[in-house]
């Protein structure tokens, strides 16, 4: 008699991966799928895939899915959620998609307090297009469009999305986690659970930033890539919960009664 002691979550399809060896997309996909199962929301979930390595995310998740234009997933999610507030809507976006071309959409979706969940993969580089500089690329980090390293005098410093969004007054849940350190994976899953839970309760916008790796475009082995994420990214992209919907609203902007 053989007992199954480990299997795929129902929300994850049985499929060969197209992601590169050592890429943390796979772990993150699995964590999202586990949370969809555990919260029993797979049957009312709608995911939105970005343009980037996760463009084919719908091949992995066993739930309804849409594919957005580059950077526009939060706008599309807004349309879906406003039309069908009963659905659980999540986007899955990389750093080029979310923090470069889609910066307008993410800030305003967060600021409107759209009741959606955003999974943000920050690996400090464009993956699918072949290793170009991202808004999150570290100073002096090499990429194909900054072959001598990111020059902060012409490209500025990397953008910290979790910090940026947590400055908005509108209540939200913003956390930064990583799946590139095994001991951190339970924390990452807890943050995802929390993010979806807030949406289920209709409370707030939620975003979980994953400090991730890109062994292929960083030119490192998977082990070295995980090490580099720890040594070079985490000191700047600090892990933690940046904002919760319980944070106080400044008195100056507390809504006054509106005369009808």
């Amino acid at each position: 008699m053989v007992n199954t002691i480990f299997s795929r979550p129902e929300a994850h399809r049985d499929i060969f991966t197209h992601y590169c060896p050592g890429c943390t997309h796979g772990i993150t996909h699995r964590l999202v799928a586990e949370v969809l199962d555990e919260l029993k929301i797979r049957e009312r979930a709608v995911g939105i895939a970005p343009v980037g390595c996760a463009v084919l995310a719908y091949n992995y998740f066993y739930c309804d899915f849409a594919e957005a234009a580059h950077g526009r997933a939060p706008a599309m999610a807004t349309g879906i959620k406003r039309a069908r507030p009963d659905l659980i809507v999540f986007t899955y976006q990389g750093d080029g998609d979310l923090a470069s071309i889609g910066m307008g959409e993410i800030i305003h979706a967060a600021n409107r307090g759209e009741k959606i969940t955003v999974i943000f993969i920050n690996n400090a580089i464009y993956g699918m297009t072949g290793g170009q500089m991202a808004p999150t690329t570290m100073p002096n980090q090499r990429a194909t469009t900054c072959p001598f390293g990111r020059d902060v005098n012409v490209a500025g410093y990397p953008i910290r999305v979790a910090e940026l969004l947590s400055n908005l007054v509108t209540p939200s849940y913003v956390a930064r986690v990583t799946a590139s350190i095994p001991s951190q994976i339970p924390n990452a899953k807890r943050a995802l659970r929390k993010a979806f839970q807030y949406q289920i309760e209709g409370r707030c916008f939620s975003l979980v930033e994953f400090v991730s790796t890109c062994p292929t475009n960083w030119g490192m082995s998977p082990i070295k890539a995980c090490g580099w994420a720890q040594s070079d990214m985490l000191p700047f992209y600090k892990l933690g919960v940046y904002k919760t919907p319980d944070d106080p609203i400044p008195d100056a902007v507390r809504p006054r009664e509106v005369k009808k």
Partner: protein, 351 residues
């Protein structure tokens, strides 16, 4: 139902509600801002959801998202805003979901001006966005017709699961005219859309995408779209004929506001014994070439009259099969008077 005196843009908003639409996403831009303003106030009365987007880029992707759930949804904008939406419209057309887009056209390229124009004809009928696709384009010539065509636009969008544009020059949006609306359509009365994103409960997941990396699959998608466009061309051509006779001195081609100014000129010339007919396309795509060709055979001379430097004239030429087509147009937001148009017609007839 009684007739109400109403501004074109507000009538467009009300007509959408009557058509069972409860979702609007848009961004302010003159001369269409009364559409979002009207809906922001009116939607709460009928359980509609109004959303002011941060940009036209966001707005078009919001209607894309809402349309993926199968609901009726629309946006409105004006020329520069429509340019920003064009990327999204391409995605919507490729994904094959239903949306309505209203373009209250303003003048000239760039920031141009806020006065009326018909300078977006090419954009609407030819180059709405990247790739190989078509959108249905409806052009009203009055506030009443704008209201009627909004209802039709939602029906056609659902019928073809395709974007439909209602295009009016700035005058159509800004002027007030009496309008009568149809009865309310219940948003719950529409057929279920089995392809919609509604949660994969008791069924396989639905995936709505415009990405097809396999060339064979992608070509099949192009061919499927083409078949749909051919069907639109076979069944959806709409036009109006005015003062047509078997032997016309002149046949005028005009749409929207220019068709009404032309009609005044035509009526006056009729008194003077000069026979001028009008062909007014109501669908700019598909253009009723065959109907136009049949009228062209009955006319000595042809002219296209537009609030542009000459865009619809391309379609008139296609219908005329090589005959010479004269052109008269004003730009910059200047709308010619009936006298000005009449003297152009007269000059051409007598030349």
């Amino acid at each position: 139902m009684a007739r109400i005196l109403m501004k074109g843009n507000e009538a467009i908003g009300e007509a959408a509600i009557r058509a069972g639409c409860r979702f609007f996403f848009g961004y302010p831009i003159t001369p269409q801002s009364e559409v979002p303003e009207y809906l922001a106030k009116r939607f709460p009365e009928v359980g509609g959801v109004f959303t002011q987007a941060e940009s036209e880029v966001a707005a078009v992707n919001m209607i894309y998202g809402a349309a993926c759930t199968g609901t009726r949804v629309f946006t409105s904008s004006s020329s520069p805003g429509i340019s920003l939406m064009s990327e999204g419209v391409s995605y919507i057309a490729a994904t094959e979901v239903a949306v309505v887009i209203v373009n209250i056209v303003r003048c000239s390229p760039g920031l141009g001006g806020i006065l009326p124009s018909q300078g977006d004809y090419w954009q609407a009928t030819r180059g709405m966005g990247h790739g190989d696709f078509r959108i249905l384009v409806l052009a009203p010539a009055s506030v009443q017709e704008a209201a009627n065509l909004i209802g039709l636009a939602f029906d056609l969008a659902d019928k073809y699961t395709n974007p439909v544009m209602v295009i009016g020059d700035g005058i159509i949006g800004q002027m007030m005219e009496p309008v009568e609306f149809p009865e309310m359509t219940d948003p719950k009365s529409f057929k279920e859309k089995p392809w919609a994103l509604t949660g994969a409960k008791g069924r396989e997941p639905n995936i709505l995408t415009s990405l097809f990396l396999d060339p064979d699959v992608l070509e099949a998608m192009n061919q499927r779209l083409l078949k749909k466009y051919r069907q639109m061309e076979a069944t959806e051509k709409r036009w109006e004929e005015y003062n047509i006779s078997d032997h016309m001195d002149l046949l005028v081609f005009a749409y929207g506001t220019m068709s009404r100014i032309s009609k005044t000129a035509i009526d006056e010339l009729k008194q003077e014994g000069i026979k001028v007919g009008l062909f007014r396309p109501i669908t700019l795509y598909p253009y009723a070439y065959e109907a136009a060709s049949a009228l062209i055979e009955k006319a000595d001379k042809l002219i296209s009259v537009e609030l542009s430097t000459g865009q619809m004239i391309d379609d008139v030429r296609l219908a005329s099969k090589g005959r010479e087509v004269a052109f008269f147009g004003r730009q910059g937001g200047i709308v010619p008077t009936p006298e000005e148009v009449k003297s152009e017609f007269l000059k051409l007839v007598k030349s």
